[in-house]
Amino acid sequence: MTIKNLTKKYEASVGVENLNLEIKDGEFFILLGPSGCGKSTTLLCVAGLLKPDSGEIWLGDKLVTSVERDLYVTPQKRGVAMVFQDYALYPHMTVFGNIAFPLEVSGKSKTEVETRVKAAAESLGIFQFLDRKPKQLSGGQRQRVALGRAIVREPEVFLMDEPLANLDAKLRVHMRAELKNLHQKLGTTTLYVTHDQVEAMSIGDRIAIQKDGILQQVGTPEGVYDRPRNMFVGGFIGSPAMNMLEGNLVKKDGNSEIDIGISTFELPDWAEEAVKEAKRSEIVLGIRPEHTTIIAEYRKNAIQAKVSFVELIGRELNVHLTAREEPLIAIAEPTERLEIGKRVWLAFDESKIHIFDKESQEALF
C-alpha cells in the first residue's frame, strides 16, 4: 500500500498534510498520534470514504485514488475491510447476518456464505452467538463480530480505526494479543489507527507518528523509542514520558557540556561528534525515566532533585521529583525508602541521552 502526497483539509483544521507512506505487504502498520492529528482522516481516505484534496493512494499495484488524474474508486470496489471504534454492527441483524452481509452483498452462494461465516465465527470464538442480536452481546463480543465481518471477506487490506478504544483495560490487553495472533495467522496487510502508544508499540511492525496532520517519524517500535527524531515523538512514545531539561551547550576544556542551570552535564564522547554541527547552543536534554536512577551520593553528571511524590505501580516505583522547579520522573525499586521532600541525586545513563534543538525541536542525533 502506498500513499503519496496525501492532503485533506477541513474548513477549520488540517486533516492530513502531504503524507507519504509505504506499507509493505503483510505488514501490521500503525498510525499513531493524539486525537485530531489526522490519522483517522488518512484511514478514511484509504477506505475511499473521504475524497482527499490531493495525492494518490495505491493498494498493491492498483491505483485507487488520484486527485491529479481525477480517479476515485468507490469504497465498495476497493476490497478493503474496516473495523470501527464503535463496532458499527447492523443492529437489526443477528451475528450471523452481520458477518454474512459482505458476502451476501457480493452475491456469494448460500452454502458458501454459511461455510465461511461459520469458519470465521469459529476462529473468533463467537460460534455460539450466531443467532444473537448485537445488543445481546458484551463489548468484547461485539468487537469480535466486527472482526468477523472483516475477516470473512478475506480482504487484501484491513483498516482498523481504534478498534480497542471502547473496551475496558483488561480486555483491551487481551484483544491486543488476539489481534496480533490473527494477523500472524492471516498475514493480511493491516493499517491500524490508535492514540494509545502502548498499543502501538506492542502490536505494530512499524509505527508512523502523526501530529497536526504532519508525519513526524516512521519506524519500528524499537526505532521510534530509541531514536526519536524530535521532541514530540520523544515525549509521546514511552510511559512515563521522557524527562526534558532545557539547557545550553557550552565548551569547556575542549569538551562539550550542557549547562542546565543547577549543574552541568558533560557529554560522552559518542555525542561529541553530533553536537559539533549544532547551529544553536540552546538545547533540550531528554532522558527516559528508566534511564534515570536515584543515587545517594553525588557523582559526576548527577543533578540534585527533590522528591515530590511516589507512585507504586506494581513491580516498580514511579518517583516524581522536581529539579529547578521542573518535574522529572525516575523509576526506582519498591524497596527504596523515599520520603516526600527528600533531596536526592539523579544519575543519567549517558549512553541513552537524547539532545534536541530547542527551537526546531529536532533531535541532534
Binding site: 458499527a88 447492523y90 437489526h92 452483498v105 461485539r142
Partner: protein, 274 residues
C-alpha cells in the same frame, strides 16, 4: 399502606375533573347514537337511551359505507406512498448528501407551511386537466404530494441519528446506495414508519377541504364530507349523525391500536457501543 398526601388527593380530583370533561362529548355521542328519534327529542343528551336501538348505527352505515371505503382507499395509499417517499428523501438528504441538498431540504420544508386554501384553485384545474378530478387516484396523488414535506422532515430527523459509521461499514462491505437503503436503513425504520404512518393516516383521513373540492357525487366522496352531509338541510337527525361520527372515528382508532406498540419501540439499541 400509607394514606395519600393532601397534594395527591387534590391532584386526583383535578385529574378526575379533566377526564370527565374530555369524556363528556364522547359519552353524549354514544348515548345519542343509541337513541330512537323520539328519545333524542324527549331525553337530555347526557341521559342513557330508555329504549336502546342500533337502528341509527345501521342507517348511518348505509349512507357512509361507500364514502368510508373511498376514504380508506385513498388514505391507505396516500399514507404508504408519502411515507415511502419521505423515507427515500430523508435517506438521500442525510446519508448521501449532494451539492445543494440543504437548499432542497429547506424548499421541501417550506411546503409544510403552505395553507391548503392557497392551492385549491390551481389544484382543481390541474386535476381536471390530468383527468383525475373526482377520482380516488386524484385524491391519492394530492394527499401524497402534500404529505411529502412533513414525511421528509420526520424521516430526515430520524436518519440523522443513524451513526455514520454504520453507513461507512456498509459501504466498505461492498453495499451500494440502494442496497444500503434496502438492507440497513429500511429495516431500522419501522418505528418511524409507525409515527409518520399514524400522523399521515389521521391527517389525511380527517381532511375535509381537499375532499370537498376534489370530489362530488359518490364515486370518490370522502367520509369526512359524507359525515358533514348527514346534517341534512331541514331536519337534524342527531342520532344518525352521532352514529356516523362513530363509524368515521373507527378506522383511526384501529390504526392507533395496531401501530401503537411500534410508536414506543427503541429500534436503535445495540447498534453501537453502550
Amino acid at each position: 399502606m400509607t394514606l395519600p398526601k393532601p397534594e395527591r388527593i387534590i391532584l386526583y380530583i383535578l385529574l378526575a375533573f379533566f377526564i370527565f370533561t374530555s369524556v363528556l362529548p364522547l359519552w353524549t355521542c354514544v348515548m345519542t347514537a343509541l337513541k330512537t328519534p323520539q328519545d333524542v327529542i324527549y331525553t337530555m343528551p347526557l341521559e342513557p337511551p330508555p329504549s336502546p336501538t342500533l337502528e341509527p348505527m345501521i342507517q348511518a352505515f348505509e349512507i357512509m359505507k361507500r364514502p368510508l371505503l373511498n376514504s380508506f382507499a385513498f388514505t391507505m395509499f396516500a399514507t404508504i406512498f408519502s411515507c415511502i417517499l419521505g423515507s427515500i428523501n430523508g435517506y438521500i438528504l442525510t446519508k448521501i448528501r449532494f451539492r445543494g441538498s440543504e437548499v432542497v431540504f429547506l424548499l421541501l420544508a417550506i411546503g409544510i407551511f403552505i395553507p391548503y386554501q392557497t392551492v385549491l384553485i390551481p389544484l382543481v384545474m390541474t386535476m381536471s386537466r390530468l383527468g383525475l378530478y373526482n377520482t380516488i387516484e386524484g385524491l391519492i396523488l394530492t394527499h401524497t404530494a402534500y404529505g411529502i414535506p412533513i414525511c421528509t422532515l420526520l424521516f430526515r430527523n430520524f436518519y440523522e441519528d443513524i451513526p455514520e459509521s454504520l453507513m461507512r461499514a456498509a459501504k466498505t462491505d461492498g453495499a451500494g446506495t440502494w442496497t444500503i437503503f434496502r438492507r440497513i436503513v429500511l429495516p431500522l425504520s419501522p418505528p418511524m414508519f409507525a409515527v409518520a404512518g399514524v400522523f399521515q393516516f389521521t391527517g389525511i383521513w380527517n381532511d375535509f377541504l381537499f375532499g370537498l373540492v376534489l370530489a362530488r357525487g359518490t364515486e370518490a366522496l370522502p367520509a369526512s364530507v359524507a359525515l358533514a352531509n348527514l346534517k341534512g338541510t331541514t331536519t337534524a337527525f342527531w342520532n344518525v349523525q352521532m352514529a356516523g361520527a362513530w363509524w368515521y372515528a373507527l378506522p383511526v382508532v384501529i390504526i392507533y391500536l395496531i401501530l401503537g406498540k411500534y410508536l414506543i419501540q427503541g429500534y436503535m439499541a445495540g447498534s453501537v457501543k453502550g
